[in-house]
Symmetry: none
Subunit: 231 residues, 4 copies
Amino acid sequence: MPDRNRSRNGVPRDATEARILEAAGHVFSETGFQAAKVRDICARAGVNLAAVNYHFGDKLGLYNEVLRYAACAAGDAANFNPVLPGRTPEAKLRAFVLGLLQHMYGEERPAWPVRLMTHELAQPTPSFDGVVDQIMRPRHNAVRALVAGVIGRPVDDRQTRLCAQSILGQIIVYAHGREVLKRLWPDFQFTPETLEEIASHIASFSYAALKSFARRNAAAKPKQKQTARQI
Amino acid sequence: MPDRNRSRNGVPRDATEARILEAAGHVFSETGFQAAKVRDICARAGVNLAAVNYHFGDKLGLYNEVLRYAACAAGDAANFNPVLPGRTPEAKLRAFVLGLLQHMYGEERPAWPVRLMTHELAQPTPSFDGVVDQIMRPRHNAVRALVAGVIGRPVDDRQTRLCAQSILGQIIVYAHGREVLKRLWPDFQFTPETLEEIASHIASFSYAALKSFARRNAAAKPKQKQTARQI
Amino acid sequence: MPDRNRSRNGVPRDATEARILEAAGHVFSETGFQAAKVRDICARAGVNLAAVNYHFGDKLGLYNEVLRYAACAAGDAANFNPVLPGRTPEAKLRAFVLGLLQHMYGEERPAWPVRLMTHELAQPTPSFDGVVDQIMRPRHNAVRALVAGVIGRPVDDRQTRLCAQSILGQIIVYAHGREVLKRLWPDFQFTPETLEEIASHIASFSYAALKSFARRNAAAKPKQKQTARQI
Amino acid sequence: MPDRNRSRNGVPRDATEARILEAAGHVFSETGFQAAKVRDICARAGVNLAAVNYHFGDKLGLYNEVLRYAACAAGDAANFNPVLPGRTPEAKLRAFVLGLLQHMYGEERPAWPVRLMTHELAQPTPSFDGVVDQIMRPRHNAVRALVAGVIGRPVDDRQTRLCAQSILGQIIVYAHGREVLKRLWPDFQFTPETLEEIASHIASFSYAALKSFARRNAAAKPKQKQTARQI
DNA sequence: AATGAATGAGCCTTCATTCAT
DNA sequence: GATGAATGAAGGCTCATTCAT
């Protein structure tokens, strides 16, 4: 029996485990954890029914590993630096949004990690905390930092947070609102071009809003600003 | 046996059905349709295990009725006119957003319909089409109409649709991104005041963006605009 | 509640009970006692689901009554005298067989009592004893009497019994072997003409056999016979 | 999971399947398909409740296999050639009848296949067609061939068919009329001797009848016969 | 190391029956 | 007297899990 004590962090130790993880990702993302059947996963992976329990202890153990696997895949995007130096804030924002969209809908990527997260949103498992900490919090902080810079408020300011929510909300609606979008806008397709179009739109939309907030904030607190400048 | 041919549209016919529907709403929203157990629903409703089959035919029949029940509760919000006369577009937008937020998080309202929809987003059942048509499409159309008026584009224009997506995305992130929000911003609470705050924020944020788009559009097509004015 | 102590002997006490009995006859004959559903019976009879228990105590009580009802219907045939005076034995036999066949497949008769008996043959209920005593034993005795007369043996002689079995077997194969006949001889139909044809055939077939036995018996025991004649 | 695609034709693949089939044969034959409980079968076979689904897919799959199992057991009798060379027709007939009776009531044989068929007669399942085709049609054809030879009519002649019915009816009355016989003739026992006695009786009875028909047919068509003789 | 056979728990559903009205 | 509502018992089936090999 494989050493279950040695943590894998979503990294398969051999080809069999890799096949199982890949298959499990698809199946779990289709129906969620509870409704997914170990049988289907094994059939899809072409392994024996007992292989899941043998390699991962039980169904939940496999699921956690799949979640980490997805998190690792997402790690690259989390490392993507949204605040590239030497570019305008709007360009940075566009690059960030595009990176996220490509991460979710890029042609080379499996679509299942996004669907998996949609299920976690509906019914978080204990592992969800880790995913949020590893993947989502860095993104959120990066957006808040960018916003704070534009609107001239601290990163943990209430307005900053609401703006970050607004920006991220515009992005995730394409992920978690996918099934609604399919029905309300049937012609819509996720192509590389549309991803760029959406990213540009969200960046323009958001940057315009942020600039407006920035002007309003400047007008509302002229003295502090002037004081700050003087210092 | 109750007449199953007579449509109920989510309206319970007696106290027992009301108790079952209420209990089912909670249970379904916790785990989704497949993973939900009829046993739990009956236990929560304080009725016999066979009552579900007696009153609703089977588990799926009950689920459809719960969905309609939730849809009926949402009906008021769908009827909410987002384009009230004699107000500024920004005020209309704010009222619309606030109405939606209050519908989802109002103090008197059960929280389960939102959770139920989150599950449908993750794994739509056949009934989801009806929900989209009855509830979501009208909302989407209303937002597009408002957007179109502000940015001077047709309601089915691509830019109009993207703006509508941006606005609705900002709202639903508070619904379906709830579990993430809880973790990234633990202090946040849904109170009547915060609902108003969010609504104001989204309205300001979005209106500023829309106005920016309107200016840009006007600049891009000066001739048509002048022609239109002349007429 | 109707007086359940007063025996009915399969005679309905009012129109409702008659409708239930008729419906129950059909349903029970289709699927047998166990697999028959009270729901189906009530639906067919157009009465409330609780009516069966109200009128007949329970499902088994209804079944017993149905059996008696069928037995009463069969009673006329049982009273049919197979040994009419003043006719040849072959004619008597033919009349008996035809009577039985018409009783089972006559145009005016419901077909379900026969099917019901087929089920009893497969899995007798306690009531089956009564049916055998009331319906089948008299028939069997009548046939044995006729046979005994032809072959010159006592009614409880072994050869007499075997001959009676042979005759009755030829008849009941059209009842209980019905489903096989349908498949092996699809063109076959139960019409008044074919009933007569079958009756003639069985009578000829059997009488020829009986006469042969009679001759053989006479040859084997010439002395007793002569003695008998002398007496 | 065992390969369900590979047809078994009623042959168990291991000891467990054999135990289940044996137990199922008994239980199904007692109550018929519908009323039989998988629980009872498993209890009798000493296996887990899920074993039926594991090995046979579901209850119906098991039943079909039981039917094939019974059909295979009956296969020997079906292969029994009723027209052995070098014997008189009456001897052939006697051998055929005895073979059938021994097949049904032989000391070494389980009694349940006969009871199972009685249930199929009462309420055929879809599998019954196959049983008729594989088991009963060959028997019927064999009998018709023998009859045709004796009475001088074609095998598909109406009189031939009726005679075959008469012969088979005499046999099956001992199978499906078993419960009636038990009550009307309690002393009767199925011993090897009585089987021979019955076989002799049926053969004598039927052959005498057939010869009578042969004479009558010959008298009715003297010209064809004479013509035939002349050729 | 890996698997085919087997299992136990539990789920949805059905159905005869009851009970208050 | 008769019924609509409700129930308890059980049945077939699924599924994650285990175990001997």
